[in-house]
Amino acid sequence: MEPQIIKFYQTGSFAVGNRLLDDSQRSVQADMRRSNSLNSGHRACQGCGEALGARYAIDAAMQATKNQLIAVNATGCLEVFSTPYPETSWQLPWIHSLFGNAAAVATGVAAAMRVKGREEVRVIAQGGDGGTTDIGFGCLSGMFERNDDVLYICYDNEGYMNTGVQRSSATPPAARTSTTATLGADPGNVFGQGKFVPAIAMAHEIPYVATASVAYLRDLEAKVHRAMSLRGARYLHIFVPCPLGWGAASEDTIRLARLVVETGLFPLFEAEHGEVTGRYHIRNRVPVEEYLKLQKRYAHLFGKRPAVDTIGRIQAMADRNIRRYGLLGEEA
């Protein structure tokens, strides 16, 4: 029997870096010279997924554009914790206007750069799920339909965390927030409401739409690179756990961002001009309980009398995603 030779690097591309790989094949975050666009000293909570996601995405975009980048921020946690007057954590040109108009402001910045003949300067708009899926949704849809040259990044932590954990249209069913109390026959957020903005963005048939999770760094960076290689309206929706709002341990941020994908509750895919062109295949499928039980916002589903029906409905959502986006790969 001849032994088989397999190219193999201990952790493959799952870890941030890998000393056995050539520098050019490592992630932006593994680089000692990464731009640290969102610098230390910001006031995000311990284990903030959004702070992490923002640095991942903007550092990758900085590298892709050779630092020729301007960021426009909606109101929200990200804006509040990074820029208490007069301090800033941002290490790139950055502007904040209102809660709901980040997409429109970004359109204006891009137009200004075009008029000035500075087309190498690229524009990113960013906000949380409140500023994106609710308050800023009109401006966002307008930016999409005009195909303005902006990458819009939504950091989705499934609620208005900055103002006290209120429900948004991205809050999942059964989750407890301060406006969806765990009272009555169907405690927590109701089933059948809310929206999945990546699908709506795809309906605009813009050049690029993708979803990402902070637990899948290489995938996230590849999507930012792809987005920055294109012109026109682009949308990236990043799943970022919120330890405070979800009642999760601060050290579980990445674990949750991984479990939400491995359960099928949050599909990772990319689409160009309205068609899905790539999807992440689940590596180690787990039941939704594994994800839910780490969060106090779902605590009412467990305990002495587990809400088996409700958990079953959440599992059905995961199964539907897996079917709809083909998340199991060839084995399915």
């Binding site: 029997m1 001849e2 032994p3 088989q4 030779i5 397999i6 193999f8 690097y9 201990q10 952790t11 493959g12 799952f14 870890a15 941030v16 870096g17 890998n18 000393r19 056995l20 490592r26 992630s27 975050q29 593994a30 000692m32 640290n36 969102l38 610098n39 230390s40 000293g41 910001h42 006031r43 995000a44 311990q46 284990g47 903030c48 997924g49 702070a51 992490l52 640095r55 990074s82 007057y85 007069p86 301090e87 800033t88 954590s89 760094l217 330890p243 341990a249 601060s250 050290e251 579980d252 941020t253 990445i254 674990r255 991984r258 180690n284």
Partner: protein, 540 residues
């Protein structure tokens, strides 16, 4: 400076905000003890040498092994690698093939003639009695520390039980000779054909400052069986010894081996190779209870050796043996049933274990012998000042790996004794158990299979049964190591910190925490694949 309307302050950086003050727990980089290292009887730092091998730094990896064990080519063949049983990767897919990589490194060293230099001479002289794995390991470690060593060996060749009880198909002699020669090249003097009858006389004769006794257990246990008969009853140890000397061995016809240890299988497998019609191992308990290693039993069965368990031999007749069937009682002890049967036999070989011949110690004041073993303390010191003992003659598991560990341990003690120092035991690091790891990050990678010689080709000669890893496979297998408890610079902590509070120091230098900004969230701890970060409460 003139400021725009409604602006009163200059732009500041958030670096002014030292968020480290929020912390209730701090992350601290640690090196935990990998289970393989913890398990190794020879005290090898397995994780450390695999780490070097992962990068293709084979010579450095080999030198790392040589700090603990002078016989990687031997150990890569005859060690029963309990490290692999302890390996955390076993729970993920399969244990890392540590033994195969060790053998690859040992063979590389022989191929490229890598050498180890003796230390600067100290002027001290040590006498080692017995040139087996324990004695040679002790001699090697003493030579590295600059002591002059004389090894006295009773046989005509060095190697002890590795040579005289492990057949060639498991331990090719050119590898054994090469690793012994490397020790001789360091200036260690091995005097062959020099059995020691009286230790005190030998110490006086050689004028040495300390002594290590490792004469091994070489006398096969005998059993008086009622006999009416001409079936020759032979001793397994003697047969293996004769095989090594290439003397005629009467393993023909129907060979019955009585015993269930590794020696029994070594004889049974040798009998197959010498053309015996039948090679049967008779054992009084069940197959599961056999002390022989699983791989040894499996390979023997593949080669045509047969087993008869729960059976004791009660009588030797003319060309036949009488065997009684046994049953296990509630305590798992075999009990007689009175039912007997006959086994046709040409030769009966007794492989019932070995005893040590400790006559040389009888006149040494202070040395105590109990149950055929030398009494030693935890540092292997006997009751006599300046005399240590190890290997098969002290109470411990009897195998080459344990013996090599004894040799090293004794050498360290002797070195400290000769320098007039007291050896301080290093603090043992916390065990890197599986619950401290995050194995998500390791690529799925099943174990590489070592090539095995086909059974038909095995039984026709004494060619080595288990083949080598080639370089690609050895590298692959080394890279399956998860570096349990020891940073392997995957950059995860540096990447996953939401506060940029991890400083990357560059290749080979690992990382540092910036406690000015670390909020103590613990993400780096839970996402460290190998469990090399501890969570320590802050004094508040």
């Amino acid at each position: 400076m003139e400021k725009p309307f409604a602006i009163t302050l200059d732009v500041g950086s958030s670096l002014a905000n030292k968020t480290g003050s929020w912390r209730t727990h701090r992350p601290v980089y640690v090196d935990r003890l990998p289970p393989c290292n913890n398990q190794c009887p020879a005290g090898e730092n397995v994780q450390a040498w695999l780490y070097l091998a992962e990068e293709g730094r084979y010579e450095e990896a080999w030198r790392k092994i040589m700090e603990e064990n002078p016989f990687p080519a031997i150990m890569g063949r005859v060690c029963y690698h309990t490290c692999e049983t302890a390996c955390n990767r076993g729970a993920l897919d399969e244990a890392v093939g540590i033994n195969g990589v060790e053998r690859f490194l040992g063979d590389q060293a022989i191929k490229y003639q890598w050498r180890v230099e003796a230390g600067a001479p100290t002027g001290k002289r040590v006498l080692v009695v017995g040139a087996g794995p324990a004695g040679l390991s002790c001699a090697y470690h003493l030579a590295r520390r600059g002591h002059a060593v004389t090894v006295l060996e009773g046989s005509d060749k060095a190697g002890g039980m590795v040579r005289y009880s492990i057949p060639k198909y498991r331990m090719p002699r050119e590898k054994l000779n090469a690793e012994i020669r490397r020790i001789v090249d360091m200036g260690v003097e091995i005097r062959l054909n020099s059995p020691v009858e009286d230790l005190c006389a030998a110490i006086a004769h050689h004028g040495c400052d300390a002594t290590f006794v490792a004469v091994g257990a070489q006398r096969g246990r005998h059993l008086q069986l009622p006999s009416t008969a001409r079936v020759p009853v032979l001793d397994a140890v003697q047969i293996l010894r004769d095989l090594e000397r290439e003397e005629a061995v009467p393993l023909r016809g129907r060979v019955i081996v009585y015993g269930g240890g590794n020696t029994a299988f070594d004889v049974a497998r040798s009998a197959v190779r010498l053309g015996a019609i039948e090679s049967l191992v008779v054992y009084r308990r069940t197959r599961e209870k056999m002390p022989a290693h699983r791989s040894e039993i499996r390979e023997a069965l593949e080669e045509g050796v047969t087993l008869r368990c729960l059976s004791t031999i009660t009588h030797v007749g003319d060309g036949v043996l009488t065997a009684e069937r046994m049953e296990l009682d509630a305590k798992g002890q075999p009990q007689s049933t009175g039912e007997t049967e006959t086994i046709v036999a040409t030769t009966l070989v007794l492989a019932l274990g070995q005893d040590a011949d400790l006559g040389l110690l009888s006149g040494v004041p202070g040395v105590r012998v109990a149950d055929g073993l030398v009494e030693v303390d935890r540092n292997l010191a006997t009751g006599a000042v300046g005399i240590w003992a190890g290997g098969d003659i002290v109470p411990a598991d009897r195998n080459a790996t344990v013996a090599i560990g004894h040799g090293k341990k004794a050498a360290r003690q002797i070195d400290a004794f000769l320098r007039g120092e007291v050896l301080r035991r290093p603090v043992k690091h916390e065990l890197a158990s599986a619950d401290k790891m995050n194995t998500w990050y390791y690529s799925d990678a099943p174990r590489a299979i070592r090539p095995i010689l086909e059974a038909v080709r095995r039984t026709s000669g004494f060619a080595e049964v288990v083949g080598d890893y080639d370089e690609g496979t050895a590298l692959y297998e080394a890279r399956r190591c998860m570096s349990c408890g020891n940073c392997f610079e995957c950059d995860n902590c540096y990447g996953v910190c939401p506060d940029n509070a991890v400083i990357k120091l560059g290749p080979g230098k690992r990382f540092e925490f910036n406690y000015d900004y670390c909020k103590g969230c613990g993400v780096c701890i839970s996402e460290c694949p190998c469990g090399a970060i501890a969570r320590i409460p802050e004094a508040i």
